[in-house]
């Protein structure tokens, strides 16, 4: 709860800072300090929850939030990722437009949404969390106001986002009609046999509404355009931390509430997973722009994260934590490299290894993690979510299909590595890579490898 309050206050401070000062680098430094502070508060909360073992999870806001140890731990990890994001891309955020303070304020408000989604126990908090998370994103997507692509991205995101909110709310309304409650614990009383058709259609609407938010196929149509059109630093945020936050909300709802109804929704989610994996990976192969390829790759990675929802067991919770962090860290690093290049196509990477060997090496590590090569975080992430599905044992065909699709993904990730190392050309950079950039990218790289070697560090629940 402290983190939620702190993040709100940070958002307000950033808005006032942008009124009082025009100094861009000053505002970036202030934001960095405040996000360090937020991360510190999260660690404090984790420390408190470790000391309070045996005590029931404290309930806040009239039992609408139950901040159990998982919620607090996940919030802490997401704050860490957000801090890493600001350290890596803070200067680039300042270059998007004039209103630098507001961008950081919106990011802080999105963090509030993520904390709410990590620990909600009432459908009202799910709805409010999703909206707090979405509305700032519509603005961030359109923050490059003179750019046609950015405007279009924000329009598409808004239209699809609010439509999916409507569907999500319809699902909540139907579940309310069936059970008379918004508490996710009360949904457990839904009977497995002779299930109320109202509840069943409510679950279906919820799958579609949340599927829109996590960009699962066939509800993924907005994703490539929005991620391609938005200013690159905000794409990095939207496709990683935000998506992970929504996934945890999805997981919480379907494991805590509908865990005993798996025979009703298992097949639907399995088909959605297969479609997501197929469309994400196959379409990514044909892309010319690396930014658009990363957008499709984020759809493909969402397909892997859906495995955690399919398999109702404890490993799935571990899997989603590792996947969220490993994927976020590697993708943020990848976007931090991409933003330094003038040309976002594959040809823009030609000959980068000769010009900036360190940058090319870091990119290679990030891409290997995304593809799931052993010794990187991405491998352990994929291993844990697939292990959860194997333990669950009902969707073996899907696990095999996912392995084939992971092999396909190696092709389009390695196309970038081939362009960097084996093709001749002059990769043009926007500006010189400073020592600070290299240091931060090196730390990100170390994190990726550390997660790959010791994933249990992330599971200290």
């Amino acid at each position: 709860m402290k983190a939620i309050i702190a993040a709100t206050i940070i958002g307000v401070i950033m808005m006032f800072a942008s009124i009082l000062s025009n100094n861009k680098s000053g505002i970036v430094s202030l934001a960095t300090v405040l996000f360090f502070f937020l991360f510190g508060i999260n660690i404090w909360e984790v420390y408190e929850s470790i000391n309070a073992t045996g005590v029931a999870a404290p309930a806040y806001l009239n039992n609408m939030m139950s901040l159990d140890s998982f919620a607090i731990w996940f919030s802490m990890l997401m704050s860490g990722c957000a801090l890493l994001y600001i350290l890596l891309l803070g200067k680039e955020i300042a270059k998007v437009g004039k209103h630098v303070g507001e961008y950081f304020a919106l990011i802080a408000f999105i963090m509030v949404g993520i904390y709410l989604l990590a620990g909600y126990s009432n459908m009202l908090m799910l709805f409010i969390g999703i909206e707090i998370l979405s509305i700032p994103q519509y603005i961030l997507a359109g923050s490059d106001k003179r750019n046609l692509k950015s405007t279009e991205a924000s329009l598409k995101y808004f239209l699809m986002g609010s439509f999916s909110t409507g569907i999500l709310l319809m699902g909540i309304a139907m579940l309310y009609g069936a059970t008379g409650s918004f508490d996710i614990i009360n949904f457990r009383m839904l009977q497995t046999d002779a299930l109320n058709p109202l509840a069943l259609s409510g679950i279906l609407f919820l799958i579609i509404g949340l599927g829109f938010k996590v960009s699962a196929a066939p509800m993924h149509m907005w994703t490539p355009d929005v991620y391609d059109g938005s200013p690159t630093p905000f794409t990095a945020f939207m496709s990683t931390i935000v998506k992970a936050g929504v996934f945890v909300a999805f997981l919480r709802l379907f494991h805590a509430s509908f865990g005993n109804l798996t025979n009703h929704w298992m097949m639907i989610v399995a088909v959605i997973t297969a479609t997501t994996l197929f469309i994400g990976n196959i379409t990514a192969v044909f892309q010319q722009s690396v930014k658009r390829m990363l957008a499709y790759s984020s759809i493909a990675q969402a397909g892997f994260m859906l495995f955690a929802i399919l398999s109702v067991n404890a490993t799935a919770w571990q899997g989603i934590v590792i996947y969220a962090v490993a994927y976020s860290v590697a993708t943020i690093g990848m976007f931090a490299v991409l933003i330094k290049l003038k040309d976002y196509t594959y040809d823009g990477f030609n000959g980068l290894a000769k010009k900036e060997p360190a940058l090319a090496f870091f990119t290679t590590i990030f891409l290997m993690s995304l593809a799931g090569i052993p010794l990187t975080g991405g491998f352990m992430a994929k291993y844990f979510v697939l292990l959860a599905a194997v333990q669950q044992g009902q969707v073996m065909w899907l696990v095999i299909f996912a392995l084939i699709m992971a092999a396909v993904s190696v092709y389009y990730y390695f196309k970038v590595i081939i362009a960097m190392y084996f093709k001749t050309g002059e990769a043009e950079l926007n500006h010189e890579v400073t020592g600070y950039d290299k240091l931060m990218l090196g730390i990100t790289c170390l994190l990726v490898i550390l997660i790959g070697l010791m994933p249990q560090l992330l599971l200290n629940l």
Binding site: F127, Y138, T151, S154, L155, F163, M174, Y176, G177
Partner: protein, 104 residues
Amino acid sequence: MNEISLNHYLFVSCALFFIGVYGFLTRRNLITMLMAIELILNSININFIVFNKFLFPDKLDGLFFTIFIITIAAAEAAVAIAIIINLYRNYKTIDVEETNTMKF
């Protein structure tokens, strides 16, 4: 005279929902699409209130949910109008068919 029952209300709400979905999918004018979204949200509001009144009258859960939906819909509409104005400045139109800079 029969009383107006739960089913009558649910019929209205369902009709409004699908009119909203139909309008959202067929109309190309952004303001009309925004109106369609509001129609969807309001049909859900009717749903919540009617379920509350007829099925679970002892608590006011559904009513309070409705108040939250109205508030957030207002916030969303404010952002939507800002986006539409920005779009009009850049494209000189509010027709969604014209906004096709990005293709698959």
